[in-house]
Structure formats: structure tokens, C-alpha cells
């Protein structure tokens, strides 16, 4: 029992160290990587443009639900005019960075893990090495850099769409005047909240895309499965670990910045 716990602990610590080195190498290898622009553009397209519809839908419904629930709750206290600050603070501080990250992981992160896993299984990554091309610089660096560009943009977009959703709930479907909603939203958002939102987006972006790349890149190391099942297991692992890490990192950052 004791030795099994020790073995598991060593394995987890070893894998964490391996992941940290992988991430560091992914970022540093961007420096010497040639013709990075084209691959970076493709990664921005995959993580950003292709995720826009899901961000639009989830952002809209999040705002709608927040507006609906918030209006009825606040009305009970005679404070329906505070709907704007409620929606804005919920979105900017917590919901936009967390939900946008989870949506991008589900849409783009899982796809990139599967793509890298298949490239590993079909020896495409080995082929890059034999051609003298650093696979980290070629495959990982553009995706990590793209995450740092895309996540803050998508988070901001999510927050804006959510605010519109809250206005639709509160002022179009319910009787709160639109001017009251928007003016209170404007007053309630301060620069610290926006900075916290962007910091979270950057951390979640780097962390989740690094986790997705790592799991795809190491698909051949899954001891229990091989081939297509290893790719499937890696993809599941990437999505689960990324989702957990977003929530854990969110708590950590909030506790540090609040």
C-alpha cells in the first residue's frame, strides 16, 4: 500500500515535471522556428474563428439566464436596477474566462490533441525529427502563441455577448429600462476587473493548450492502450485535465487577486 502510494506519487511528480519542461520548450522553441507566421495564422483560425459560433451561442444563453435569474432575485429585494452590475461582474470576473476556456478546449483543444496523437502514431513527429526540424517549434509553439492571442479575444467577446444577453433578458423581455441597465454596467466595470479577466484568459489559454498539446504529443506513451485507442484516451485525458485545471487555476488566481 505504502510503496504503491509512493510509486503513484513519483509518477505524478515525474509527469508534472515532464509537462513543465514540455511547456517551457514549446514556448522557447518559437524563437528559432522558421516561417512561424503561417502556422500561427492557422492555429489562430482553429482556436479562434472556428470557435466563434460556440462562444456566441454559449455567451448569449449565459447572459440570458443571468439576466432572468438576476432580475427576479434582485426584484425580491427591490434592487432590480442592480441587474447590470450583477451580470457584468459575474461575466467579467468569472464566467467569461472560465466558460470561454472550457468551450475552446471542447472545440479546438480536443481536435488538436487528436491531430497530434495521430501524427505521433503515424510517425509524422519522428519524421520531423529525422528532417532536422524541431517538432516542438513546428507543432507546439504556434498553438501556444495562438492561445495567448485567442483566449483574451474570445473571453472579451464572450463577456460582450453575455452583457447583450443580460440586456435582452432584463430590458427587452422584462421591464428594466435599457438606459438603467447599460449605465449601471458601465459604472460597475473597473480596470482591475478587466485586468483580472485578461490575466485569467492568458493563464487558461497557456495552460489548457499546453495540456492538450502534451497529451497528443505523448499519446504513444499511454501504457494501457495503443493506436487509435491511445489517441482517444489522450483526447479524453486532455479535455478532463484542461477543464479541471481551468477551475483550479480560476480559484487560485481569484484568491490571489481579490
Amino acid at each position: 500500500m505504502l510503496s504503491a502510494t509512493g510509486r503513484s506519487t513519483l509518477r505524478i511528480v515525474g509527469e508534472l515535471g515532464d509537462f513543465a519542461r514540455f511547456t517551457a520548450r514549446g514556448f522557447t522553441s518559437a524563437i528559432g522556428s522558421r516561417r512561424l507566421g503561417r502556422r500561427l495564422t492557422r492555429a489562430v483560425y482553429e482556436q479562434g474563428v472556428r470557435c466563434l459560433p460556440v462562444i456566441l451561442i454559449v455567451g448569449t444563453f449565459t447572459g440570458l439566464v443571468l439576466g432572468l435569474q438576476g432580475y427576479h432575485t434582485l426584484k425580491g429585494f427591490g434592487s432590480a436596477s442592480l441587474l447590470g452590475p450583477l451580470v457584468a461582474n459575474s461575466l467579467v470576473r468569472e464566467l467569461a474566462p472560465v466558460l470561454a476556456a472550457l468551450m475552446i478546449v471542447g472545440q479546438a483543444g480536443s481536435a488538436l490533441t487528436a491531430e497530434l496523437g495521430i501524427q505521433r502514431n503515424s510517425e509524422q513527429i519522428d519524421a520531423l525529427e529525422t528532417m532536422g526540424i524541431d517538432p516542438h517549434g513546428f507543432l507546439v509553439a504556434p498553438r501556444l502563441l495562438a492561445a495567448l492571442i485567442v483566449y483574451p479575444m474570445m473571453t472579451s467577446f464572450f463577456a460582450l455577448i453575455g452583457l447583450v444577453g443580460g440586456w435582452v433578458s432584463g430590458s427587452v423581455l422584462l421591464p428594466l429600462p435599457g438606459s438603467v441597465y447599460w449605465s449601471s454596467v458601465y459604472r460597475s466595470i473597473n480596470p482591475e476587473d478587466v485586468a483580472q479577466c485578461i490575466v485569467k484568459a492568458l493563464v487558461f489559454g497557456g495552460l489548457t493548450i499546453a495540456l492538450c498539446c502534451y497529451n497528443g504529443f505523448t499519446a504513444h506513451r499511454r501504457s494501457t492502450t495503443t493506436g487509435a485507442r491511445a489517441v482517444s484516451a489522450s483526447t479524453t485525458r486532455a479535455v478532463v485535465f484542461s477543464s479541471i485545471s481551468v477551475l483550479a487555476a480560476d480559484y487560485l488566481i481569484t484568491s490571489l487577486l481579490v
Binding site: 522558421r34 516561417r35 491531430e115 501524427q119 503515424s122 510517425e123 509524422q124 519522428d126 519524421a127 525529427e129 529525422t130 528532417m131 532536422g132 526540424i133 513546428f138
Partner: protein
């Protein structure tokens, strides 16, 4: 296209006491092998005997557990990054499954090693890629993706990518696996022709005995991770070694076994 210097008699690649294992399973046992410069060496052996592992150790994709691989007399295992990068520029590897990047077109696949691993100007890269595609009759298919090509075309595309850097050594991992006899002959002819034309050193791992004996300058036989024979094809044909005979005479063994089965005799123990 300039030919590599083959005038030196020193071997290009050497393997000394190579040992490789995965878990408890030892794949290569204290293997010694010399790859002569400018020649075509074929490595024969049954499936699972360690041929591809040996090739990956030669290419530096796998690190040996013991022993060393020497490139022009210098050990690759302890080489610094610039030396290893220089080796990679002079060596190409043709994977069994071709390992073409499926998100890139044929043109981009061939251009990839030049764009990413050399400092050649763009016009020179374009000229080399066009030349490589033309030599392998793929010029008209430059815009197609690997998934839109037949197995034979993919093989030629992988060969074009392997040769576009003008390597001094090319490692071929079962280049004819899964191909019909006509395609097999065509691929071996293509390898032998390219090797003569460009003067590179070639190491070919294969199961195809007649084609290998016809095309090779040297033949090596691996049995259970041990080198059992190394010599010229004529020496292979004349060898009295039981291990060599088992491979060489496998076709006639098969005919005898089929005839025995048709006569109703019991199936040999190793086939049952």
C-alpha cells in the same frame, strides 16, 4: 544535383556493440555493423527481429541502451546539438508508412525540410522541389494532398522528400511493404537508380529477398536481434549458414510444405 563524396574508404556509419531493449524484451543484442560509403546495404530478417529498431537507432530517433552509432567515426549518442543537426541534414529517413504530413500538399511536404532546416533562398527551394517532383513523376500532382494519392504515389512522394535535401545517407524502412510485385520492382528500381544517380549511401530494411539481392551491394541478415550474416549478395547465395539458408530457401520450403499438406501429411509444428 551534386553527388556526395564517395571517394573516402572510411565507413559512413558504424554500429558497435549496439543493444536496445523495451522493458524486459531485448530487441538488439550487442550488434556490430559497418555501412560502407556510397553502397546499398540491405538488412533482411523476419518480422519482429529488430530491423526497424536498428534503422531508428542509425537515424538517431531511438537512443541505444548500450553500444554506440558512429557517423564518420564520431559517436552520435554523445554528439552536441550542432553535430546532431549536421548529421540530420546529411541523413534522410524513408518511413515504412511514409510519414507524410497529411495537412500539407505534396509540394509543401517536399519543401518542408528545405524551408525548415536550411537557409536556402526561396527560388533555390522552389527549383529543388520542382526538380525532385519531376524526377519522381509527381509534378502534375504537386497541389494534391497525401490522402488524395495512391500508395505508390505516396511512396514516390516520400522518396522525393527524402532526396530533396541531397542527403549523403538514406535509410529506407520497408519501402515496399504492402505493394504488389510490379510496384515492388518499381520501388527497388527507383531506389537503386536514385542511389547510382545521386551517389548516396543507402540502408534498406526489407522482406523482399529477390529484389534485395538484385539491387544491393551488401546484404545483412538479422535473426532475433543478432547479426547472422553480412556480405555481398553472391556470398549470401553461396552461404552454408543454416540461418541464411532458412531465409534464402523459404520459397522452396513453402512449395514443399504446400505439397505435403495437399498429400494429407501433418502440418509442420512451427506452422500449426
Amino acid at each position: 544535383m551534386s553527388k556526395p563524396d564517395t571517394s573516402s574508404s572510411a565507413p559512413l556509419l558504424e554500429v558497435h556493440g549496439l543493444r536496445k531493449q523495451f522493458g524486459d524484451h531485448v530487441v538488439l543484442h550487442d550488434l556490430n555493423l559497418v555501412v560502407p560509403r556510397g553502397r546499398l546495404l540491405t538488412i533482411l530478417g523476419k518480422s519482429g527481429t529488430g530491423k526497424s529498431v536498428l534503422l531508428k537507432c542509425l537515424a538517431g530517433v531511438l537512443a541505444p541502451d548500450a553500444g554506440e552509432v558512429l557517423f564518420e567515426g564520431r559517436p552520435l549518442g554523445t554528439a552536441d546539438a550542432p553535430t546532431l543537426a549536421a548529421f540530420r541534414r546529411r541523413c534522410s529517413y524513408l518511413f515504412q508508412g511514409n510519414a507524410l504530413l497529411d495537412s500539407l500538399s505534396a509540394w509543401d511536404n517536399v519543401a518542408l525540410p528545405l524551408e525548415q532546416a536550411t537557409l536556402l533562398p526561396k527560388p533555390e527551394i522552389r527549383a529543388r522541389v520542382r526538380d525532385a517532383l519531376r524526377r519522381l513523376e509527381l509534378e502534375a500532382d504537386a497541389a494534391r494532398y497525401p490522402s488524395q494519392m495512391s500508395g505508390g504515389m505516396q511512396k514516390r512522394l516520400a522518396l522525393a522528400r527524402a532526396l530533396v535535401t541531397r542527403p549523403e545517407i538514406v535509410l529506407f524502412d520497408e519501402p515496399t511493404a504492402g505493394l504488389d510485385p510490379i510496384r515492388r520492382n518499381a520501388v527497388f528500381t527507383m531506389i537503386a537508380h536514385s542511389q547510382r544517380e545521386f551517389g548516396f549511401t543507402a540502408v534498406v530494411v526489407t522482406h523482399d529477398l529477390p529484389e534485395a539481392l538484385a539491387a544491393s551491394d551488401r546484404v545483412a541478415l538479422l535473426v532475433d536481434g543478432t547479426l547472422c550474416f553480412e556480405g555481398a549478395p553472391a556470398e549470401f547465395q553461396a552461404s552454408a549458414s543454416p540461418a541464411v539458408a532458412a531465409v534464402r530457401d523459404s520459397a522452396s520450403h513453402l512449395a514443399g510444405q504446400i505439397a505435403a499438406i495437399r498429400r494429407g501429411e501433418p502440418v509442420p509444428a512451427d506452422l500449426a
